[in-house]
Symmetry: C2
DNA sequence: TTTCTTGCAAAAGCTTTGCACACCG
DNA sequence: CGGTGTGCAAAGCTTTTGCAAGAAA
């Protein structure tokens, strides 16, 4: 937790950006929340306690988080941008249930290794990647 | 080639849809084009020969292609929807160069197999998936 | 003739931007 | 103070929708 605040503070210092109450509030909520928040979801949560907070501020601040490496933009195919907190832990991928919209995370070092191998074969330098498996989770398998 | 037309014709018949000149034109161009076309790119190509064609018609028609399984919607993170022709061949994944926007395709059955294994472990039924590796291609590695 | 399509323009999302005022350093 | 940041509203983009006229079955 303190980790995230420090990263952001250092980033702001480096860039000559200012610390404001809004940025604090948004960062707190972002770090507290579960992954894969859309900007709107975060905004609505924040509005409950901070009725004056502007939509644009949330957009701008999330972009800052992405810029300083605290968050990553994701697009799952509905028209909304979602932000996921980056962690120092292992990279993880997603199982997205098209039935109930649940998003499960998983990680598999063997897949990661094969990706690197593919990249080497193409003289490609991977900076980032994403793997998403769409389908039905155990709860929804029977329903449809 | 004829394959694509047949699929679409059958689909239209089944759904009570009508065959029109516009749909023919769009299908021809779509089948002829390389993968990963954005709606706008396709529209611009088509406009050259068919100045009266409407933007909305292209959108609507591409949705039909997706619905009948001829095409798949893809979102690579720029705000545009792209359509990729589905083939009966092996599924392939993407290497997306963030330097020059080149999109390379690759396939790796070992990765596919590991995905199935992950799904089994979570009692998840995969209907679809997507793997994208973002980074720099061989040409761009030195430049940045 | 009946139903589906088209092209246009308007509307609808989501995101960004311009601007006056407020705030941080 | 001087430069940033904020909130609001307006503008931008991509995509969707309503509708009258046109084309297919």
């Amino acid at each position: 937790m303190a980790q995230g605040h420090k990263v952001f503070r250092d980033f702001m210092a480096r860039k000559g950006l200012k610390s404001t109450k809004q940025r604090e509030i948004i960062l707190d909520e972002f770090l507290k929340s579960t992954s894969h928040l859309s900007t709107e979801e975060l905004y609505l949560k924040l509005r409950k306690k901070n009725p004056n907070l502007g939509y644009a501020t949330v957009y701008r601040t999330l972009k800052l988080f992405a810029e300083c490496g605290l968050a990553e933009e994701r697009h799952f195919g509905d028209g909304q941008t979602r932000y996921e907190r980056t962690s120092d832990e292992e990279h993880h991928d997603h199982l997205v249930c098209t039935g109930c919209s649940t998003i499960l995370e998983f990680e598999d070092p063997r897949i990661e290794e094969l990706q690197q191998q593919v990249a080497r074969d193409h003289n490609f330098k991977i900076l980032n990647h994403r793997l998403e498996l769409y389908g039905l989770c155990s709860k929804c398998t029977g329903k449809e």
